[in-house]
Point group: C2
Chain length 334, copies 2
C-alpha cells in the first residue's frame, strides 16, 4: 500500500495525518475527524461487519466507549459518520442502531488505517539509510528539513530507532546511524535470536494457546495455501508470518519473550525489505505452521518446540542461499 502518502505536504499537516480520505463529506460532518474518532469509526464498522452487532441492534455509547477505552464523545461522532454512510440509522433522541443493510456497507470500510504520516517517515528513513542515501552523521535539524517533520515527531522517531538499536545520539549534537542494519550478517543473527527464544517460549510453565486463537491461526494458514500466497502483497505475506509467530509465542504468557520477538521482528522487517519475496517458500512454511498448530493442540510442547526449531532453521538456511543477493552493498568493517 502506498505508505509514502503525504510527504510533500509535510510541515503544515497538523495532526490529522493522512487518514480518512473518505470523500468531500456532506455538511453535518464537515470537520475531518481526529485520530480517535477515526479509529472508533473503523472499530464499530468492524463490529457490524463481523456480525457482533446485527441489524436493528441499538448502540449504547457508554458501552462502546468502555470497550474501546475511550470516552463517549468520539463514539458519538463516529456513529454520526456511520449513519451518514448508511451503516447505522439515527433515531433522534434514542441514539443509533444498525441499519438493515448495514452489514453490506460495512465491508467497504476496510481499515483505511492512517497512522501513516509517522510510519511513512520511519520507512523512508530506514530505506534511505539502507540504500546509503542518508549520511552516517546528521543533525536533527537536517532530518527535520529532509523529511518535513515537526520537533515532536522527529524526536519520537529517533527514540524509536535508538531503541531498535540502529541510531544513537552523538555526544555533542546530532545522531549517528550504526552499521547494524547494513551488515549482511544481521538478518542471520536475528534468526539465531529467534531460534533461541521461540522454541523456549513453548516450554514456558503456563503455556496455553487459546482455542479461538488457534482456530484463527489455522484459518489464516489455510487461506494462504488456498491461493493468497500468490495474490497477496509481499508486505501482507510478511505480516502474516510475523503474526503467526507472535501469536504462538504470546501464548506463553511471558511478556518478555513476546516483547523480544516483536522487537526483533520490527527490525527484521527493515532487513528483509530488499529481499525479493520468494513466494515458493511460503507454501512449505504454511504447511509447517499447520503442523505446529496441530502439535500444540495435542499439548505436546516439547515436540512442538523441536518442530519450531527445525522450522526456523529451515528458513534460515533458505535465507543464506539468498544472501549473496543482499550483499550488494557489503561494508567490510573492522
Amino acid at each position: 500500500m502506498g505508505r509514502e502518502g503525504t510527504h510533500a505536504a509535510g510541515r503544515r499537516g497538523s495532526r490529522h495525518e493522512g487518514a480518512v480520505p473518505v470523500q468531500p463529506m456532506s455538511d453535518a460532518t464537515k470537520r475531518l475527524p481526529g485520530r480517535v474518532v477515526t479509529e472508533a469509526t473503523a472499530a464499530i464498522a468492524a463490529l457490524v461487519a463481523e456480525g457482533t452487532l446485527k441489524p436493528g441492534d441499538r448502540l449504547l455509547a457508554q458501552r462502546l466507549a468502555d470497550r474501546l477505552g475511550i470516552s463517549r464523545f468520539p463514539i458519538g461522532q463516529a456513529m454520526r459518520i456511520l449513519a451518514e454512510r448508511g451503516l447505522l440509522t439515527a433515531d433522534p433522541g434514542r441514539g443509533f442502531s444498525v441499519a438493515t443493510d448495514g452489514p453490506c456497507h460495512a465491508a467497504s470500510f476496510r481499515a483505511e488505517r492512517g497512522g501513516g504520516d509517522l510510519a511513512s517517515a520511519y520507512f523512508r528513513i530506514a530505506e534511505d539509510r539502507l540504500s546509503g542515501a542518508l549520511p552516517e552523521h546528521i543533525s536533527e535539524q537536517a532530518m527535520r528539513d529532509r523529511y518535513g517533520l515537526g520537533r515532536g515527531q522527529l524526536a519520537q522517531l529517533l527514540n524509536r530507532m535508538a531503541g531498535e538499536g540502529w541510531a544513537e545520539r552523538r555526544p555533542g549534537y546530532g545522531w549517528r546511524f550504526s552499521a547494524v542494519l547494513t551488515t549482511p550478517a544481521a538478518l542471520e543473527q536475528s534468526y539465531r535470536l529467534r531460534l533461541a527464544i521461540e522454541p523456549a517460549s513453548l516450554l514456558e510453565p503456563g503455556y496455553r494457546l487459546d482455542g479461538n486463537l488457534l482456530r484463527q491461526c489455522r484459518e489464516v494458514e489455510l487461506r494462504m495455501l488456498d491461493g493468497e500466497i500468490e495474490t497477496a502483497s509481499a508486505d501482507t505475506l510478511y505480516e502474516r508470518g510475523v503474526r503467526f509467530h507472535e501469536a504462538i509465542v504470546g501464548a506463553s504468557g511471558n511478556p518478555f519473550f513476546l516483547d523480544t520477538l516483536k522487537r526483533v521482528n520490527r527490525i527484521r522487517r527493515l532487513l528483509v525489505y530488499r529481499s525479493l519475496a520468494d513466494r515458493s517458500r511460503y507454501r512449505q512454511q504454511a504447511a509447517e505452521h499447520l503442523e505446529l498448530l496441530a502439535t500444540l493442540e495435542r499439548g505436546a510442547q516439547a515436540e512442538a518446540a523441536a518442530l519450531l526449531r527445525a522450522h526456523l532453521q529451515g528458513v534460515m538456511e533458505k535465507l543464506s542461499a539468498v544472501r549473496p543477493l543482499l550483499e550488494a552493498k557489503s561494508h567490510p568493517e573492522g
Copy 2:
C-alpha cells in the same frame, strides 16, 4: 487551572542538571559547564589518572576531540577547568600539558556523573508505580504536576517507559501503566528469558571473548570476593552482575542477543529494587562467574553454556524462595 503551576522548583533547573557541584569556582570558569564539557573533563582526568597521559605530555585539542567524538570547543573548556584544578598547566599560546603533580589530583575526579534529574524522576515514577501509589491511568498533565517535569522531559521519560514495555499511550489522552511490573511472576519470567538467550549466545558461531576483557572481568570478580561484597552498595553489586553477564553475551558478536539482555536487565533493575539484597548469595555467584570465565578461556563453549544455564537456574531458585517477600502487594487480575 492546573497548568500554570510551575509549582515546585523543578522547572528552572535548566539543563545543567545536578552535575559538577565542584565549588563556587573562581572567575575564569564562572559559567557552569554543559553536558559535553563535563564529560570531556572527566574523560581527560581519567586519561591522566590511568597513566595514558604522563606529566609533561602536551595535550592536542584536535586529537582529544577526535577520540571523544566531539569538537575542539568543549575540549578547550575542559582543559581550562582542569588547569584551574591543578591537573594541567597552561602554556599560554601553546595549549596545555599535564602537570607534574597531575596524577595525584586526578584521582579526586571520581565520576561525579550527573544526568541525575531525569534519572531520579524515572526511578521515582517506577517506585511509585511498584508501590501502587501511581494510578493505572494518568494524564501527562497530572504527571508533570506530580513530578515537576517540563513537557519535553516527561515525554522523554514516557517514551522510554513505553519502550521498556511498562507504559503505553491510551487511545485518547493519558497513559496506562501495564501490569508487567506489579505482577510477582515478572522477575521469574525475566529470568526465563535470560535462561533462553544467555547460554545460546555462548554457542554463536563467531564467539570470541577478548583476552583483555576476560582478565578485566576476572579481576572484578576477585575484588568482589575479596571483600567488596560486604562493602559495596546494593546498587553497585547489581551493576557488577549486569556488567558481567552483558560482557559475556556481548562477546558473541550478535547485537540482538546483547540488546535483548540489556533491555531485560533495565527492567529487572526495577523489579529487584525492593528485594533486599541478600549479600551471601553473591559469594557463590562470584565463584560461578569465575568458573565460567575459566571455561570460556579454554574455549569449551558447550560446557560454558551448560554452566551458565545452571548458574541462572540456581539464581532463579534462590529467588523463588524470597518470592513471598515480594508478594506484599499481589494484584490478582483476570
